[in-house]
Amino acid sequence: MSAARAPRIPVEERLFSLVLALLATEPGLTKSEILSTVQGYRQKHSPNGDNTALERQFERDKDDIRELGVPLETLDDPAASGNNQMLRYRIPRGAYELPLDISFSSEETALLTLAAMVWREGTLSGESRRALLKLRSLGGHAAVPELDYAPRIRSRDAAFEPLRDALDRAVLVRFPYLKPGESEPRRREVAPFALVQHQGRWMVACIEPDTGRRKTFLLSRIIGPVQVTTVAAERPADATAESALAALDEVWEARTALIRVVPGSDAETRLTKRRSTSVRDDGLLEIHFADLQIVADELVSFGPEVTVLEPESVRQLVVARLRRLVAAHGPTTGQTPVESSGGHHG
C-alpha cells in the first residue's frame, strides 16, 4: 500500500513535527487530524483504511515525547465525553517553555555541567545528557575551572533502574531482601518513595503498605529481580528523599564505635578524616556509622591497624570476620576451605 511508496521519514523528524504541530494549536488536534496531516504520519495514513498500526505508533511517540518532559495534554470533549476519537491533544506553551526568569550564570552553567558529568556511567546518563542540551539551549557558556574535575556516581546495583521506574510510576514493588545474619532472603512488598545515596551506598526508602511504617533497604542486599507491580501507592507529602536522608543522618549521629588505631597508619589518616569522627584525648577514635554490618566490613579491611573496643556488637562482628578470613585462607588441603569461626561466636 501507500506506505511502501512513501518516502521514509526519520523518527526524529516525525517526533519533531508532532511537537511543533501540538505547540501551534490552541484548541488541540484530534488523533485523526494528527495522523492525516502531521509530517511522518500523513505519509502512512490511509483515509478509508485501517490505521491501527499508525495509531499504536502515535501512542509510543506520545510516551517518548512525555519522557523528555514535554507536557503533552489530553483534552476530553465535554460534548462527547468518553469518545476516544474526540479526544484532543496539545502542548500548552506555558507548561512547555522554561520560564523566562530562569537563567544560569557561567559559574552555575559550569557547576551544572559537572553535575551532569557525575552520571556519565550510571543509569541517569541519558537524562543528564539531555538536561545538558537544554542548558546549552540557553546560550550561556560554562566557566572553565583551572582544575580538571571528573566526578562519577556509579549505580551498579541491578535494583536501581526498576526501583527508579517504580518511583516515577508511584507503584508497589516486590523484591527478595537478604538481611545479614539470615540465611534465606525474605520477600518484601513495599511502596518506594525515594532513592538516596548515603555515605556512598544506595538505599531505597519505602513505606510498608500494611503498617504504614517507613523502612530503608540497602540496594546491595536486594539479591533478586525487583518486580514492579501496577498497584498504585500514594506518596505522603512528607515522604521525600530529603526526609529519608535526614532519618539516615539521625541514625548516623546516634551510633558510635570506639576504636584504637596504630599511630601513623593508613587507618589513622583515613578514619580520622571520616565524616564526624572525633579524636579523644587518650588517642582513641570515636567513629559514627549507620549500619552494623557495613561498619564492620569497613573496619575489618584495616586488619591489624584497627582494634574495636566498643560496642560489643561491632567488636564481635569484626573478630568473627577476621577469624573466618584466617580459617578460609589456611593451608590448602585440596578441598575448598570451609568457614568455621571456632569457639568465639559473633
Binding site: 517526533l15 551532569a116 537524562e127 539531555r130 562519577r152 516515577d168 518513595f193 546491595s220 593508613d266 586488619g303
Partner: protein, 331 residues
Amino acid sequence: MAERRSSLHATDKLAFLLSLVPYLIDRGRVGVAEAAEHFGVTVADIRRAVELIAVSGIPGETSQYQHGDLFDIAWDDFEQNDVIVLTNMVAIDESPRFSAREAAALIAGLQYLSSLPENADRGAIASLMSKLARGASSEPSQVAVDQRDTDDLLSLVSLAVSQGRQLEFDYSGVRGVVERRRVDPLRVESADADWYLRGYDHLREALRTFRLDRIARPAITDAPIAYRAADVVLPDMLFEGSPDDETVTIDIDAAAAALLADYAPDEIEPLDDGRCRMRVRVGQFGTVARLVAGLPGDPIVIAPDAARAAVSDWAARAVALYEQAPPDDSP
C-alpha cells in the same frame, strides 16, 4: 532491543532539535563550527539538524505545510559561509523545560559535588537547585545524595593550581611507607564516596593517583608547577595495571562480583551455590587481604598459595590483638 535503542536515539535527537532552535533564534547568526562546539557535537550533527529544521514546520491552515508554515534559513549563508541564520520561525520560541528525571539528575549531581570548593556557597547552591525544580515540567523525582562539608584539601588543591605551585603532602602507599610527595595536581576524580587526586609526582617522576583521604599534612610549596591539565593526556582508567602486578584467583558470591570490576577480572566463571570465580590483578599480595576483607559476598582467595598465606597471616595478626587486649582496658 535494537528497536528500543534506536528509539532512545531518536528522543535524544528530538531533545537536540528542541534545544537547538531557541539557541539559533537567540543568536541570530552563528557559525556551524561555533554551534557544534557549544553543544559538544560534531559539525555534521549540526548540519544535519539544521537541514531537518529548515524543512520542518506545522501543517498550517491548509494542512499542506505551505512555505510560510515552515522554518527557513538563509541557504546561501549556510552553504557557502557555514553560517546559520533562521529567516522564518514557527511554533517554538523558548528553550524547553527539564523533565522530572533530568532535573533530579542535575540536583542529585549538585548534592554529590557539595564537597567541592566551588560549591562552598550553600545559599547559591540552594537557589540553583530551586531554579532547576522550577524549570522542570513536573516535580523532580525523589533521588538524592547526602551532602558533605567542603573539603579543605580540595580547596588547597585548587589554590595550588591557580597559584601555579606544587602541592606537597605525606602519603602512605600500599606498602605502608609514608613519604613526602610533591605533585602537580592535574585532575580530581571520584567514584561514589571515594575521591582521588591525579597528578604528576615529582618524587616518582611519573603520573600517579592518590586517594584524598590518605593524604596528610598537605601544603603549597614555592616550587612552580611543571605540568597543567591541558598539557597531559590522562589515561581513562584510574588504576593502570603494571607488569609487576600479581594475578590472584578469588571466589565470591555472584551478587557481589560487580564490586571487583575495578580490578579488571578477565572472565567470571560461575560456580555452584550462587558463587563465582575470577582472576583479578593486584599490586602485590599484601594488598589482597585488605581487598577481600572489606568486601561483602564472602570473598575467598583460592590461589596462589602465597596470596592465601598473606591473607591468613594478616587476619591472624589482627585477631591476636583482640586476644591480647581485653575490651575493658589496657594501659
